[in-house]
């Protein structure tokens, strides 16, 4: 009898001990226990952001406990202030704009790959095009002529200037004019500009109307040149590192998925843009990979400095969120 009573405290201790172990698995465990989070992501209504929408459709973000609310903006100019102010948590912007922001010490950081150029010119979805019957045959002929770009002092000039340099031409002799992508073909075909640096869907549209391509500038810059990326404010990353990680994982899955499923991409782009379906079916799709391809970002930074778009290069360690 006495031995049984002696066991009771032991049993109690064991019971409590077991209970503790059972309830103690809330420390940094499986993703399933993560808090659901809603993220406002600033994007532009172009094919480049299809992976985001595909990822939403396929549930990649849901698996990480994230609900994505895409915010359609007109351009990077509207997205960056919104991210900096905290109105959006994440944004999509071309790398050159982010480099310029970084060089001005704006607290933004690249968190994920967004869209890349083709590995070779076969996969090109961009090009410097000239109208039918133009006397311009190659890059060197552009000296002294007018070239339309979507945004001045930005990625278009970075790649076109570099292409001109490689071709032995003087890029300072080219007159750049800013014309939005949707208006570029009109300006080109009515002879208002001599050449235009277009991307899809205007690129195919232009070619279909008889314009000719003289340089796939993105692809000539570097294979799989990183054109645009997703970014967040440093403050948000510092306060929500876990959420950002989950976004990165889901985004990587989405990018890989998009790269494998052309048809689904063509279908989904029609849901958040007004690009007509016939155009979507025929255009060259952008390229997606999950690798950031950092050397091309370095390249862009150096080029931006060379062409005078920034005064000093930003520190890439500061600009890019490393693992």
């Amino acid at each position: 009898m006495r031995s049984l009573r002696a066991l009771i405290p032991l049993l109690l201790v064991l019971a409590v001990g077991c209970g503790d172990d059972g309830g103690g698995d809330d420390g940094g465990g499986a993703g399933g226990a993560a808090e659901p989070q809603t993220l406002k992501v600033g994007v532009i209504p172009i094919a480049d952001v299809a992976p985001l929408y595909l990822g939403m459709e396929q549930g990649f973000f849901e698996q990480e406990g994230l609900t994505i609310e895409p915010q359609l903006a007109e351009g990077g100019a509207a997205i960056v202030p919104s991210v900096v102010s905290g109105d959006y948590q994440i944004g999509f912007s071309n790398t050159t704009s982010l480099i310029i922001a970084g060089s001005k010490k704006l607290p933004v950081q690249i968190i994920s790959q967004g869209v890349l150029a083709g590995e070779t010119t076969e996969e090109a979805w961009d090009g410097v095009i000239v109208p039918k019957g133009s006397d311009i045959r190659e890059l060197g002929d552009l000296e002294g002529r007018t070239v339309a770009v979507n945004t001045l002092n930005n990625v278009s000039q970075v790649v076109v200037n570099t292409a001109l340099k490689e071709a032995g031409a003087d890029y300072t002799k080219v007159k750049y004019v800013e014309v939005p992508f949707p208006d570029m073909n009109a300006a080109l075909e009515s002879g208002r500009v001599d050449a235009a640096f277009q991307v899809e869907p205007g690129y195919s549209g232009g070619l279909a109307a008889g314009s000719e391509n003289i340089s796939n500038a993105y692809e000539e810059m570097a294979p799989n040149y990183t054109v645009a990326t997703y970014f967040a404010s440093k403050q948000y990353i510092a306060e929500n590192g876990d959420v950002v990680e989950r976004f990165r994982r889901a985004m990587q899955q989405s990018l890989d998925y998009a790269a494998q499923h052309d048809e689904e991409v063509r279908a989904i782009v029609g849901t958040y843009t007004e690009i007509p379906q016939e155009v979507l079916d025929k255009m060259n799709l952008p390229v997606w990979k999950s690798d950031l391809n950092e050397p091309t970002i370095e390249q862009t930074s150096a080029a931006a400095k060379e062409y005078g778009f920034i005064e000093e290069e930003p520190s890439l360690d500061e600009l890019i969120l490393r693992d």
Binding site: L152, N154, Y176, V177, D183, A187
Partner: protein, 257 residues
């Protein structure tokens, strides 16, 4: 007399006081998009005095002047016709109401298509939008001419051109000028919008490019310049208006003095 002095003093001091408040409030500012006023003023001096005057201010003002001038000329002529002719007014009213409701950025594609990427496109955009306030005010002014005046003109058998020049226009003048004044501030806004696209110089172009390249003190300095220009243009306008409407002011002796 001393009231006048007090008035002038107030006019100069109040804005200065507000600037002082702004300077004090923003002095230690860390927020990226709201730099200290002192930074902005420094950038202003570097940029606009007088480096960029020739390259940006002059082209902008030339386009503004052309667009505004064309708008006023066309609007007064058209407004006169519409104000005097009720059938014409009724016929064109829907068209006028429709065209003036088109948001200016929506005109850009059409402008580029028809006029290209140069000065004429920008002048067109400015003129097109500035047209409407002047037109509407002219129509209102002309149609609202005091019936007594009209009947007097009738009984004196003043017709056609004389009537327009010496009865209708003078009577409608105050309202026409009210419209022109509204259009003047619109013109400045339109100047900026027209330089949003296909531009290589101009104040609006500078502000937008600064915005894009995150050069925030420069952006603010441009906004400041736009405000100053607007003020100066208005002062100019008031001087002209005062001369032209001298007789009317005398009759009405408004509080402006």
């Amino acid at each position: 007399m001393s009231r006048r002095v007090l008035g002038t003093a107030l006019e100069l001091l109040v804005p200065l006081a507000l600037l002082g408040v702004w300077a004090a409030w923003s002095a230690g500012s860390e927020t990226y998009y709201f730099p200290p006023l002192t930074d902005i003023l420094e950038t202003f001096a570097d940029t606009w005095l007088f480096e960029r005057v020739g390259s940006d201010v002059v082209p902008s003002l030339v386009r503004l002047g052309l667009g505004y001038g064309i708008a006023c000329a066309v609007a007064v002529a058209l407004g006169l016709a519409l104000g005097l002719s009720r059938p014409l007014r009724r016929a064109l009213d829907p068209v006028v109401q429709f065209l003036r409701s088109v948001p200016p950025p929506a005109l850009l594609p059409f402008g580029i298509l028809v006029l290209g990427v140069g000065t004429s496109m920008k002048v067109f955009i400015i003129a097109f939008v500035c047209l409407w306030p002047v037109l509407l005010n002219t129509v209102d002014g002309v149609a609202g001419v005091d019936p007594t005046q009209r009947e007097t003109a009738d009984s004196f058998r003043i017709g056609g051109r004389d009537r327009v020049l010496h009865v209708v226009l003078p009577a409608a003048a105050p309202q026409i000028f009210a419209g022109m004044r509204t259009s003047l501030s619109l013109a400045l806004i339109l100047m900026v919008i027209s330089e949003m696209v296909a531009s290589t110089n101009g104040i609006g172009y500078f502000v937008l490019q600064s915005q894009r390249s995150f050069a925030i003190p420069e952006m603010w300095s441009g906004i400041l310049l736009l405000g100053i220009l607007g003020y100066l243009l208005n002062v100019l306008f008031t001087i002209v208006e005062r001369r032209v409407l001298r007789w009317h002011r005398g009759a009405r002796a408004s509080a402006l003095g």
